[in-house]
Amino acid sequence: MNCTKLELRSYPPFIHDWKTSAKAAWICSATLVPVALWSSVLYGRIAVVTWLTAVAAALVAEAAASALTRRWTLGDGSAVLTGLLIAAAMPPGAPWYVPVASAAFAILIVKAAFGGLGANWMNPALAGVAFAYANWPAHMREYVLPRFVAGVDGVTAATPLTFAKGLAGGLDIKVMDALRGASYPLSAIDGAVTGFLNDSLFSRLSARLPDGYIDLIIGFKPGALGESALLAVALGSIVLVSLRLIKLEIPLAMLAVFGLLARLFGTGLPGEGFLAGDAMFAMSGGSLLLVAFYMAADPVSSPVGRGACLLYGASIGALSFVFRRWGAFTEGVAYAVLVMNVTVPFIEKAATGLRLKRGGVA
């Protein structure tokens, strides 16, 4: 055993690219740290506890799996990443057993039982989150207001998305105005920044930014931990893309298709009509960006090949839209990815077939 290992090492090429799977996982994890920090600022102690519990549970589960299979895999960073992604999908203040159970399910069942990293055809973190939604739907949908909005910790509220969906709106009223009309809480910062932008920038373009979008972007709204830090997630995504750690085609196709459909048909919000969907609201709400860059583009559970990736991303985008438009809940995006995970082999085949037909090489 040892001998073959040595021989493997001494086979060319003797130099390698800087990327390793472990480094990729650790860098992904590192880009989530700002997300964790921002959500901790927003929600205080309850957020910190959820992040730490999820990561700790993931590590313990990975250690247990390592002990069972006698393959030490904690160093590859994938467990920490899974833990962080699960925490990102948790509502702040979820009871401790929710992230723990999700992480254990993700790592012990979805990953280890299928043969460890590389053999899991489903994204473990997403499967863990879906598991949590299935088992504790109430806990998973109980959101609280950030303390800057509520003034105190732990005031429960519905997410803007759920809230807006519940509103009966006419065609003449924009979603944000509808929200405010229903006295949805907005922060003072939103008022200030929106006012400033409208005065200085948008007035010259003779446009107006409605109140509320700033809150959506900086996370002054109830939502999952990862959702609250849209800017941090965007920054992390830029890092992943510029280091070429993920398959860019997937999130691009996914967001483009989702945004287009949302614009065309609306996502069932008040104030939307045909060709007048509020794509910006649809895309900033929900953890769309996080799922797109960190989970849909996860290499293991996505197809290989440019064409296949585009097809896969576009399908996720379309499916997310369907779930969001006609489904009941905000986590439709997660289910969309899981459904598409299952179809990866077919997508790869279809893409290869197309390429062959065009006279390319397999």
């Binding site: 493997l8 060319p12 003797f14 130099i15 690219d17 799977s21 990729a24 990293l117 290499p299 090489v361």
Partner: protein
């Protein structure tokens, strides 16, 4: 002129290890020279014509060609034959080797070389000299007279003088173009007289120094040959025939005859100065070598001697490589001898190898992006691992050139090309 390049995959070689150019030094003569009689797996072993205890002169014939794929071997140093034995080479195959220990006086080093005017020689004369002096193509180890005469039987090919060095280290060929351009062009003319190419192309790096390019251009124009100089993009594996052909929009790489300046210099010295192939230009470098340099070393010199002449190691090398970092071989130890195909000796630091434990394939697709042949290495691997070599062949395994780009890129450090090589060896055996 616009630089050309192959169309897909490969590994960019943007960064090159710093190197101080200057005249190429002769390495010290080795106390003991281990002359390996076979340079590659497929070579036929020449027959030794000396016996243990016999005194030999520098350049005296040690072993005579046994016919096809076999070449004459000469003594690199004057001395006594100590041992003739079969050893395992760094290439992983067995070969007879003759050990000569240094003694006596030199016939070549001290004296001025004789200069024949080769222009009066005809094709047969030249062919005879090249065969007699045991000149091999440095990049492949094949006897030069053999491949040249094969080519002359099938005219209409392009002779590519390739100074392409597509790795971060070696730049011997480019240095030879700078320092011995006249001999290279002359060698080219000799080779052309033997093989009669339709045209000649000098393949050079896109970032070649103008100070090298300009004199070369003048020499090429002054020669009576049809020489074009073509720059190529610096991207591994641009130096492989398949990729040169692709860059030139030539359909069949078989119509290219690739030869490198160092071989032409050896050819030139054989014909003009009557010198057998007992010297080799070796680039000694890598992050763990104190003073990287190109040395003109005697065949049979232990690579450890060369490393010492370059100041020895700085830090702890992780691997010692004979040949290039992409396709070379790991040296068994520092006593491994220089052969006529040793173009570089690299001592690589862990920062350069970036080795890491092998992990399962994460389907990142980096190998697909890196493959210059448009294959899906991860898929080939999966097929081979699940015991379906025939499906792997159907998926293009036969087109794999063993360039190693996929293994270089693999973030799980899977030695993909090793599996491919082994699968094809098994295929041959079946």
């Amino acid at each position: 002129m616009r630089a050309r390049g192959f169309k897909r995959g490969g590994v960019p070689v943007d960064h090159r290890a710093p190197f101080k150019t200057g005249p190429i030094e002769n390495a010290f003569l080795p106390m003991n020279a281990i002359v390996q009689l076979r340079e590659h797996r497929c070579a036929v072993e020449p027959i030794p014509v000396v016996s243990v205890g016999q005194e030999v002169r520098e350049g005296q014939l040690l072993a005579r060609s046994a016919g096809k794929a076999s070449s004459n071997v000469h003594s690199p140093i004057p001395g006594i034959v100590r041992r003739i034995e079969t050893t395992r080479t760094s290439g992983g195959f067995d070969s007879k080797a003759i050990l000569v220990s240094l003694e006596g006086s030199f016939s070549m080093l001290g004296k001025r070389p004789e200069r024949y005017l080769w222009k009066s020689l005809n094709k047969a004369d030249i062919s005879h000299i090249v065969q007699d002096k045991g000149i091999v193509r440095v990049s492949s180890g094949e006897p030069l007279y053999e491949i040249l005469s094969e080519r002359s039987d099938a005219p209409g090919f392009v002779m590519v003088v390739s100074a392409l060095e597509m790795d971060p280290y070696r730049r011997t060929e480019e240095e030879l173009l700078a320092l011995r351009a006249e001999d290279v062009v002359d060698g080219c003319a000799i080779a052309a007289r033997m093989a009669l190419p339709a045209r000649i192309m000098f393949a050079v790096d896109e970032r070649i120094e103008p100070a090298t390019l300009e004199p070369l251009r003048e020499l090429a124009a002054r020669s009576e040959l049809d020489i074009a100089i073509q720059p190529f993009r610096r991207r591994f594996p641009q130096d492989l025939p398949g990729q040169i052909a692709e860059a030139m929009d030539i359909a069949d790489p078989g119509t290219l005859f690739i030869i490198e300046p160092s071989t032409l210099v050896a050819l030139h010295e054989a014909v003009v100065s009557n010198k057998p192939h007992i010297e080799q230009y070796v680039y000694v470098g890598g992050g763990s070598i104190k003073r990287p340099a190109i040395l003109k070393a005697r065949i049979g010199a232990p690579i450890g001697d060369l490393i010492e002449e370059c100041g020895g190691f700085s830090g702890h090398p992780e691997t010692i490589v004979i040949g290039g970092p992409f396709r070379g071989r790991a040296a068994a130890d520092l006593d491994a001898p220089v052969t006529r195909t040793t173009r570089a000796v690299l001592a690589l630091s862990p920062e350069e190898t970036k080795s890491a434990p092998e992990r399962p394939c994460v389907r990142c697709g980096d190998c697909v992006d890196a493959c210059p042949e448009g294959l899906s290495p991860y898929r080939l691997l999966k097929l081979l691992r699940s015991g379906r070599p025939d499906d792997a062949l159907a998926a293009g395994l036969g087109r794999c050139s063993s360039c190693g780009s996929c293994s270089y890129a693999c973030r799980s450090r899977i030695p993909l090309v090793r599996y491919f090589d082994e699968a094809r060896q098994n295929e041959v055996r079946r």
